[in-house]
């Protein structure tokens, strides 16, 4: 836990690129790793999409490469399908979006935005990456174990999860990931509290920093309960305790080693106590990213800075008291479900407030339609759809019908894909020039943008319809039920769109790697932005700022009539004489 080990850092290759303690290198390590995990999780779901659209048909090309147990004759088997589902969810949430939003963007951008030379604990920062990576690799390796990967969904409900093979590795790997996020969140909070440059008061911090601050608290306080819950599940699996197991369980005519007497609902409560705040971990940093990009590209101060920050803080607090809205159908008393219904309606208010502030920020602006701005603009309505479709799930009456249908899948993918992921793309285009001193190509960016947004809607919009037709989620073969046949064409639309989405990621991947080396060179502040990360070189040197920046004003001083430029950096001495 050494503080700020700087100096003498002209190190070997290993110390510079692999075991670096520099927040920027660590941020890029997180960036590349989590993007790869995202791609992997996406590949898994493409296999599932094939099976959903064309059940029982052999996979083209890939089918023959899969092991005969997983996919006999190239047809995805039911067990393997369940593994794909569980691992897709787990990988996307815990190895993809969160590390990208927090580990990559938070790590790289947040210290720069508050004018700090690094994180408060650089070595702890490095540790958190090096605990995350093995945790993630273990998760992937579990596919190769006898019995395969976990197959009880990312929610891992017992007793199924205690019985199914593969789950032990899932739990072990989760312990790694939880430890990593604990180290990270500690570091973020201390850094934001203690490492702000002189003059960077809390009220002058960019919205993105606030988003990371609230997120860090969620990670800090919500993950330990899942850790405890995972330990109990691990005990159930390894030592045959019965914390989650009912008595007299018989599987396939065989008695089981569990004496029983436990509560399988206990897991659900503990899991969702983490997993609802986790949902806000998935959306708060993206909201912060979108806020930054909107301010820069509308060339005016954000509408309602205080309201934005206050709403995010309120979301953070409330997110701890809504968890059981995922469990309305688990037989809970109506008093309890009414309580969670009310808290859920309450938490939707600040979320709408955030979105409203962002939309009102556009009013009267002369918007620059850059690639990052396009993604940020797409975020607003699409995330809005995700949020609004959540309300019927939070109301007990409608949830009775919609619970565990494809409607739910549609809802949360609008939130995390057309919401979070789109915002993370926006952030990538926005901060790429800071990371590499070069811009991503605009034309390829626009192709990527249009293809991606259209395809995403093609994937997830049909899911609402299929869901309202009454189709359950987690189905291996929808056509096995007669009432699902009517929705089958929608599955085909969804699957085709998923492959289109894959194709439209190719320009992005090419653009990304090509632009690192050949992209258009830009100066340190190509967007003419006010926040501190743009007031140092691109990429920033070790220690970030040549001298400690002094902050004189809030983060979004655009279009100040008293100033000849239309932007006034946070650390500029004072407004230059008016024109």
């Amino acid at each position: 836990m050494s503080e700020h080990a700087h100096g003498h850092e002209e190190h070997s290759f290993w110390r510079t690129y692999v075991f670096s303690v520099d927040h920027k290198v660590i941020g890029l390590q997180y960036l590349i790793t989590s993007l790869l995990f995202l791609l992997f999780g996406f590949t898994l779901v493409l296999l599932m999409r094939w099976q959903l659209a064309f059940p029982g048909q052999p996979l083209p090309l890939l089918g023959r490469l899969l092991s005969p147990e997983a996919a006999p004759g190239g047809v995805i088997g039911p067990m393997f399908y369940n593994q794909l589902g569980a691992m897709h969810g787990t990988i996307m949430v815990f190895l993809g979006i969160v590390p990208l939003a927090v580990g990559a963007f938070g790590n790289y951008v947040m210290p720069l935005q508050i004018g700090a030379p690094d994180m408060a604990f650089p070595r702890m920062n490095m540790m958190s990456y090096w605990v995350y990576l093995p945790g993630g690799l273990l998760m992937l390796l579990s596919f190769l174990l006898p019995g395969g990967a976990a197959q009880s969904g990312w929610t891992s409900y017992p007793p199924l999860s205690v019985i199914n093979p593969g789950q032990t590795m899932w739990l072990v790997s989760m312990v790694f990931l939880i430890t990593s996020s604990l180290l990270g969140s500690l570091n973020f909070i201390v850094t934001i509290l203690n490492m702000r440059a002189p003059g960077m008061t809390l009220g002058r911090m960019p919205v993105f920093v606030w988003a990371q601050f609230v997120t860090a608290f969620l990670l800090l306080l919500a993950f330990p309960p899942l850790e405890a819950a995972s330990i109990l599940q691990l005990m159930d699996r390894v030592f045959h305790t019965s914390f989650y197991m009912p008595a007299g369980l018989v599987i396939g005519g065989q008695t089981t080693p569990w004496t029983g007497g436990g509560q399988s609902l206990l897991w659900q409560h503990l899991f969702w106590f983490l997993a609802h705040p986790e949902v806000y971990v998935l959306v708060l940093p993206p909201m912060g990213i979108v806020a930054e990009i909107i301010a820069v590209n509308t060339r005016k101060p954000l509408f309602g800075y205080k309201e934005l920050v206050g709403s995010m803080a309120f979301i953070g607090v409330m997110s701890f008291v809504v968890w059981a809205h995922h469990m309305f159908l688990s037989g809970m008393s109506t008093t309890l479900s009414n309580f969670f219904l009310v808290t859920t309606m309450i938490i939707s208010v600040p979320s709408v407030a955030v979105l409203t502030c962002l939309i009102l920020s556009l009013k009267g602006a002369s918007i620059r339609f850059t690639t990052p701005m396009l993604f940020a603009l797409a975020f607003l309505p699409l995330f809005g759809i995700g949020g609004l479709t959540g309300l019927p799930l939070g109301l007990t009456v409608t949830d009775i019908y919609l619970h565990d249908t494809y409607y739910v899948i549609g809802h949360f993918h609008y939130v995390v894909v057309t919401g979070s992921l789109i915002a993370l793309f926006a952030g990538t285009y926005h901060w790429f020039p800071k990371w590499f001193g070069r811009k991503l190509d605009d034309r390829l960016g626009k192709i990527h943008f249009w293809g991606t947004t259209v395809a995403m809607n093609g994937i997830f919009l049909p899911m609402f319809i299929i869901g309202m037709q009454g189709q359950s989620r987690r189905l291996y073969d929808p056509t096995a039920h007669l009432h699902n046949l009517v929705g089958q064409p929608m599955h085909v639309v969804s699957t085709v769109s998923a492959f289109v989405l894959l194709i439209f990621q190719l320009p992005f991947i090419y653009n990304f790697f090509n632009s690192i080396f050949n992209g258009e060179k830009v100066d340190s502040n190509p967007w003419k932005a006010t926040t501190l990360e743009w007031q140092c070189p691109s990429p920033p040197p070790h220690g970030n700022f040549a001298s400690v920046p002094r902050v004189h004003r809030g983060p979004y001083e655009y279009s100040d009539p008293a100033h000849k430029d239309d932007w006034l950096p946070q650390d500029a001495e004072k407004a230059v004489a008016p024109v």
């Binding site: 836990m1 503080e3 700020h4 080990a5 700087h6 100096g7 003498h8 850092e9 002209e10 700090a116 030379p117 690094d118 408060a120 604990f121 604990l182 969140s185 500690l186 570091n187 909070i189 201390v190 509290l193 203690n194 490492m195 702000r196 440059a197 002189p198 800090l220 306080l221 919500a222 993950f223 330990p224 309960p225 850790e227 405890a228 819950a229 330990i231 109990l232 005990m235 030592f239 045959h240 305790t241 019965s242 914390f243 080693p257 569990w258 004496t259 007497g261 436990g262 509560q263 206990l266 503990l270 106590f273 070790h542 220690g543 700022f545 040549a546 001298s547 400690v548």
Partner: protein, 197 residues
């Protein structure tokens, strides 16, 4: 800032609270959530259980009482160790920290005998929910004790090398103490919950 600038502390540390201290309090907050969850699970499982043994019928209360006193005493010695470090009395620090570590070991040895006698009587974590909770919570607590031993030994080792005069030394002894008190408090809750109620 130049590559040779002193540690970042000076213009920063806006709150006036050292980084390490903030970090340890945040860490303890997360630990409260961890053990809080286990205690909640204990309550839920116990309320729903058809039967629950009375702790003193199946567990060894005298041994646990002894262990409770040992831990409380070690919390005193670690406070002394901090005071000695602040008073720049190295011998006194080493003595008190050494005692703390010693008592932590005693605690674990006693625990070892408790566990073995349970196993000898055929009581395993799988025997009942009660034993499951007993082994899981005390086991996790034991791991925390081990962590404390490692941390405290590390401080002694560091003091003997170049740590004693490091400007962060006293602070780190304090943080070790905070952690140790926490581990102590967890036991103060576990003891009645498992043995006496």
């Amino acid at each position: 800032m130049s590559a040779h600038a002193p540690a970042v502390q000076s213009p920063y540390e806006n709150t006036g609270v050292p980084d390490g201290k903030l970090a340890i309090w945040l860490f303890l907050a997360s630990e409260v959530m961890l053990f809080g969850t286990l205690f909640t699970s204990y309550i839920v499982l116990r309320t729903a259980a058809a039967s629950w043994p009375r702790g003193w019928d199946v567990l060894n209360v005298p041994l646990a009482t002894f262990n409770t006193f040992i831990l409380i005493a070690s919390s005193v010695t670690i406070v002394m160790a901090h005071a000695k470090a602040a008073a720049r009395d190295k011998k006194g620090f080493m003595l008190n920290m050494g005692l703390t570590v010693l008592m932590a070991f005693v605690f674990l040895v006693v625990k070892y005998f408790e566990y073995s006698s349970k196993f000898a009587h055929g009581h395993y974590p799988s025997t009942s929910i009660f034993y499951g909770i007993y082994f899981t919570t005390t086991g996790l607590h034991g791991i925390h004790i081990l962590g404390g031993i490692a941390w405290n030994l590390g401080l002694m080792w560091w003091a003997n090398r170049d740590g004693w005069d490091d400007r962060l030394f006293i602070g780190r002894v304090e943080y070790a103490g905070l952690y140790w008190h926490f581990v102590d408090v967890v036991w103060i809750f576990l003891f009645p919950a498992l043995y006496l109620l």
